[in-house]
Symmetry: C2
């Protein structure tokens, strides 16, 4: 079976080229997980606070001092930032026919916890809820800067997925613009609403709940499913059932429910694919806009390489259909 499918949120096309002979088990990576809870050489381990830039935020007991032990979640600037929050940022020196912008923004690292070997799948839901709440607090704080136009939070888990530091962490970027993918989403949402009188993510939720074959998990507030136009084997989207613009405005009950569906989904990926490397990102509404949006998480296990076709066309080739992916992830 091979067909071209369009993502109704982004407008992107993917090639679903399922190979019958391929068993989902063949994607198991079995990367050995670290067994050490602490490493003297890891800048994110408890006790090594002096190996990072000074923290900008932390969850720690009252009266605990900055950059000392005892924290539960810790936020530090990235040592090699892709964006810089400097007012004196140089305007690019040349332009001519070209267009450029100063890369103004923030690039923070959110260390999930003190344990070196505790991935999202291993954390208990209370600790996960704490991390998600730190996401909210940082987004709320950084959105106050009028030069901050949008933000994205990502998790790269595993070296093959681009993690240069093993200790589980997220990265928060703020941008001086709306990223191209999100710009396309905002335009698609506008178009879909005018044509179908609905938000594409709300429409997807209804469709997937009824169709069932691509659903991984569901609770009162969230649906986790492999999207129709999955760009990679075992891609999972986690979407709030309520049409909600801004992640940082979600309530405590929702964050607790999100922590639970996170725990379940990352747990299933870990069990079924043997702790695969993965990329995860949070899309939330750009700050300086009233445009309609619906925040969501995308999880992409790293099972394939971007190569000439993908770069040259802007289309991904996915060799495991989302129906087979979801079935495999649901099975015990």
């Amino acid at each position: 079976m091979t067909d071209l499918r369009q993502n109704i949120l982004t407008g992107d096309w993917v090639v679903i080229a399922s190979r019958r002979a391929l068993r989902p088990e063949s994607f198991s990576t079995g990367t050995p997980k670290p067994t050490d809870e602490r490493l003297s050489t890891c800048p994110f381990c408890m006790g090594n606070e002096d190996q990072t830039p000074p923290e900008v935020f932390a969850v720690r007991p009252e009266n605990g001092l900055n950059d000392t032990k005892g924290w539960k979640v810790r936020v530090v600037p990235n040592k090699f930032p892709a964006f810089l929050d400097k007012k004196e940022l140089n305007e690019p020196e040349e332009s001519g026919i070209y267009t450029s912008l100063p890369a103004y923004g923030h690039h923070e690292v959110i260390i999930h916890g003190p344990n070196h070997n505790e991935t999202v799948a291993d954390m208990d839901t209370q600790d996960l809820a704490l991390v998600l709440n730190v996401y909210q607090q940082r987004l709320a704080a950084l959105s106050a800067d009028p030069k901050t136009v949008s933000a994205i939070i990502i998790i790269n888990q595993g070296r093959e997925a681009g993690a240069s530091i093993e200790h589980p962490h997220s990265q928060l970027f703020t941008l001086p613009m709306i990223a191209p993918r999100q710009q396309r989403e905002l335009e698609q949402i506008k178009r879909f609403k005018s044509e179908e009188d609905d938000c594409p993510l709300c429409a997807m939720l209804k469709y997937e709940q009824a169709f069932k074959e691509r659903v991984i998990a569901e609770n009162d507030y969230f649906l986790a499913f492999c999207p129709f136009a999955s760009a990679a084997p075992f891609e999972v989207n986690i979407v709030p059932k309520k049409h909600q613009q801004d992640f940082h405005k979600a309530g405590k009950e929702e964050i607790d429910a999100l922590a639970k569906i996170f725990k379940f989904t990352f747990g299933r990926l870990g069990e079924r694919l043997k702790d695969p490397p993965y990329n995860t990102f949070l899309h939330t509404r750009p700050f300086q806009t009233d445009d309609d949006y619906h925040w969501h998480f995308v999880i992409m296990p790293k099972t394939s390489i971007m190569a000439g076709f993908e770069f040259g066309t802007g289309m991904m080739i996915n060799i495991v259909g989302p129906e087979a992916s979801a079935k495999f992830l649901r099975e015990p």
Copy 2:
């Protein structure tokens, strides 16, 4: 130095986040190249013609039989095609709110030559010109199919760049649509022409020839340069100086000049980065259109991983600016 740059051909944005401490030498990969000229287990080696699907085209001596030894370039269908040229292609079974298309198309493998260990950088220019001429012949033949809307030719060199078979080869895909990246290019060209009264690639050629800092090589017909908005360290674009729509209509003199600048460029990449894995693609005008275009090659050495930020934003982070990349590639 960090800034955001827009590619005036695609409209894509990249983050140029040069790290001063990084020396270009650190990108040398030093992947050992195979030393064998023939492998009994390689389906693309001379003598193993029965290990591929029957050939669709070959350059071989007169009276040579199909699927026998003696060829110089050989074209076979891909054993695991992403696109299928079957008239009876199933219409996708479900759609509802979703959009999909049958993945009608061709997916061919162009084996560059009989030698297992001869990469593009190693080939002599006459043999390279032969391969480029086979590109032209296959594009001309496949464009006759009215269901073929566009085509792309790629080279993935090295396992890290997605090559599953080591023996040097290209892949030709035809698509039943215009790929999203190329669609954006066609729209950008239209916009740029109406605003600047020029083709963006023609404007780039003039600018880069005058600016010089990003140029790698030049001959009568072509310019090879690291583009202003390079999406990866050491990205090189090779662009014909003449505003030419269709690659398969380029003349013999141009193909010979292209083979020479290929040899030089891939040679420099191989020497300076120690035979890096890379992705290369050819963009030529879609077949069923009169829209204006300017064909070109893009070469992207594989030095980094697409991760959460890149997937979530649609922007690449490039940690070596094109000016430094070009300087490094020019130096002896």
